[in-house]
């Protein structure tokens, strides 16, 4: 069991990084609490796998420290870190049986035979491989192999954290749900710190109690799924989380009014943002209302998603998406209004707190 602290981590793969763009991880400070279930969410190339490999010690950071329970682990090799990692592609020792696979990390550490047998039986029970325990690992399916990888992580009594690197990539869709459910179950039973890297928001939001969103080598927001949805602190979070993502429209400020082209949306207070050139207005499609009043818009496309419809509109030359629930109709001449609780203001992509923005 371990709390993991990342202290001013920066990492570049090429030697002698000069410019900011040379860094795969620009600056990361983050604490993973003991026993937490975390997801590292972000697009390909955002640095999430690099961060995971830095925690497990497969990669050593250019700058900064990695602390486990306060102990500096930065220069410790992987095998001394009490970390388990499950990879994108299932890694099993083909020639061994399931049981031998699970016993392998313990045998390497010189654990007693009786103790190994006891631990292995427990883990077989946790990951649900009872029926396959004495089968050779070679012939198993991808999801069964992935369970073995997970089991090899769980089998060590001293394991501080289990890291997952997009573990469901090669798993069939119908097995994904099941495996994810068993991951949650394992987390509930063992209370091991788990960090789960993925680019799939559904996986991240259903697995983790805290989601760490990464973008371009930085952590842009850490929060519960609800926080990420309700209050994205960076335009990327708004855009990346939710389906469809947040509407982000360039805007300017005019006192307490937000200027969207020729129309204005009054804000509750005038934010002090003089001299901020890159102002953007963000609202999720769930908070866009279509009615007879507001800003005129034209419908360009409607997608039927079953329970709701996504209406793509053009407003002042900008694309806006709105959600229509079942039974709601598109007005003949649609006007857009924004639900005040869903309105956010971004300066240079970062959220600015504005009390009670409203739309007329």
């Amino acid at each position: 069991m371990a709390r993991i602290d990342l202290d001013n981590i920066r990492h570049a793969y090429a030697p002698n990084p000069q410019a900011e763009t040379d860094y795969a991880l620009r600056l990361v400070n983050q604490t993973f609490d003991d026993g937490g279930a975390y997801a590292l969410l972000g697009p390909s190339g955002c640095g999430k796998t690099s961060l995971l490999n830095i925690i497990s010690g497969l990669v050593s950071p250019t700058e900064g420290r990695v602390l486990f329970n306060g102990d500096d682990m930065t220069s410790r090799p992987t095998e001394k870190r009490n970390i388990a990692q499950v990879f994108q592609f299932p890694v099993v020792y083909d020639s061994m049986t399931v049981r031998e696979n699970l016993a392998f990390p313990l045998r390497n550490r010189g654990v007693k035979r009786v103790e190994i047998a006891k631990r292995v039986d427990e883990v077989i029970d946790i990951v649900g491989l009872q029926a396959l325990a004495d089968r050779r690992a070679r012939g198993l399916t991808a999801d069964e192999k992935q369970k073995i990888s997970l089991g090899r992580g769980l089998v060590r009594a001293d394991v501080g954290a289990i890291l997952f690197d997009e573990p469901l990539t090669v798993i069939d869709p119908h097995m994904k749900w099941q495996l994810r459910a068993s991951l949650r179950e394992v987390h509930r039973r063992t209370a091991t710190t788990m960090i789960y890297v993925t680019h799939d928001q559904t996986e991240a939001l259903t697995f983790a109690s805290k989601v760490v969103v990464m973008y371009d080598g930085l952590i842009v927001q850490v929060g519960t799924p609800a926080e990420l949805f309700d209050c994205p602190s960076h335009t990327f979070v708004g855009y990346f989380i939710g389906s469809p993502g947040m509407n982000i429209v360039p805007a300017s400020l005019n006192g307490a009014n937000l200027q969207l082209g020729a129309h204005s949306v009054p804000l509750a207070s005038a934010p002090r943002l003089e001299g901020q050139p890159n102002l953007e207005f963000g609202v999720r499609p769930e908070f866009v209302r279509l009615g007879a009043q507001g800003i005129p818009a034209t419908v360009s496309r409607v997608e039927d998603a079953g329970r709701y419809r996504v209406v793509h509109l053009t407003m002042e030359g900008k694309a806006i998406a709105a959600l229509l629930r079942e039974g709601e109709e598109i007005p003949a001449s649609p006007h857009i209004a924004f639900d005040p609780i869903g309105v956010h203001l971004y300066a240079d992509s970062w959220r600015v707190a504005v009390a009670g923005a409203g739309a007329q």
Binding site: S56, L58, P77, T78, E79, I83, A84, Q85, F87, Q88, F89, V91, Y93, D94, S95, M96, T97, R99, E100, A103, F104, P105, N108, R109, R136, R138, G139, S149, R152
Partner: protein, 285 residues
């Protein structure tokens, strides 16, 4: 039920004809000779299994067979581990890779007979570099069968270890990094990594290497012919060449062929009995 158009069989015909003329008919001709006595006036006489009995009762044949088996055994015992060892130590990236690959491939490009000539000269006790150097400890491949044997093995190792190394290397580089990373996390030793990751992943290519090296070394002819002109030690192939009777030659060829077929089958079955699992890979608890 859909009617089946058997006309498609005609498409197989050209292949069948080619195989018939290249393999089946020549083999059947040999079978035909093996049961006949060919008299000087080109008259054929049916003799049944006479030639086969003659071959199987010939001491020279059995001696040659044992020599062949021991020779192939030595070749495999040296070349396979040595090839794997070389492959394990070859660089994985950088300029060393092409340099190594080209250097390793060079011996494979040399024709058999030329290899024989190279070693014949290399080992000569009057002018050969190796021969002169080893002369003082009594080395002389022309006079001593053991020395000739030693020279032939050395020559085969020089010629063919690269093949094993290249095949093993191909197997090694195909192992994804995640396996090594997982092994580090599991605290595996270098030996465990070799035993449980590298060796099982190399098993398929090693099966091919063992089969190729077995068949090739078991059929060895050109090199002993070039080096020692078919003298001692006598292999099956050289023994075959020295046989005069056409029928006996044919019978011996068939026995030789069947032995190779049988041995290859045994190797293949044993090595792939658990989907490419190499020998001695059983339960390790």
């Amino acid at each position: 039920m859909k009617p089946v158009n058997h006309g498609a069989w005609f498409l197989v015909l050209p292949m069948l004809i080619i195989v018939a003329f290249t393999a089946v008919i020549p083999l059947m001709t040999v079978v035909n000779y093996s049961v006949q006595y060919v008299a000087t006036n080109a008259q054929f006489h049916w003799v049944g299994d006479l030639w086969f009995r003659e071959v199987l009762h010939s001491e020279k044949f059995w001696n040659a067979l044992w020599r062949n088996l021991v020779f192939s055994g030595c070749i495999l015992a040296i070349e396979i581990p040595l090839g794997v060892l070389i492959a394990l130590n070859m660089p994985r990236k950088g300029w060393g890779v092409p340099v190594c690959l080209v250097l390793m491939a060079l011996p494979l490009l040399v024709p058999w007979y030329v290899v024989g000539m190279i070693w014949q000269m290399f080992g000569r006790v009057d002018i050969g570099l190796m021969g002169v150097m080893l002369r003082d400890i009594g080395y002389n491949y022309e006079g001593d069968p053991i020395d000739a044997w030693f020279t032939l093995i050395l020559m085969d190792v020089w010629h063919w270890t690269s093949l094993v190394a290249l095949l093993a290397y191909a197997g090694l580089v195909s192992i994804p990094d995640a396996y090594y990373q997982a092994a580090r996390i599991d605290g595996a030793s270098k030996w465990s990594v070799f035993r449980y990751i590298q060796l099982p992943k190399m098993a398929r290519v090693l099966t091919i290497a063992v089969l190729l090296r077995f068949m090739d070394s078991f059929m060895i002819f050109t090199e002993p012919f070039a080096v020692i002109a078919g003298g001692d030690p006598v292999f099956l192939s050289t023994e075959l060449k020295q046989t005069v009777e056409l029928g006996q030659k044919a019978a011996m060829s068939l026995i030789y062929f069947l032995i190779i077929l049988l041995m290859s089958w045994i190797f293949y079955t044993v090595m792939t009995r658990d989907d490419g699992e190499p020998i001695g890979q059983g339960g390790a608890s």
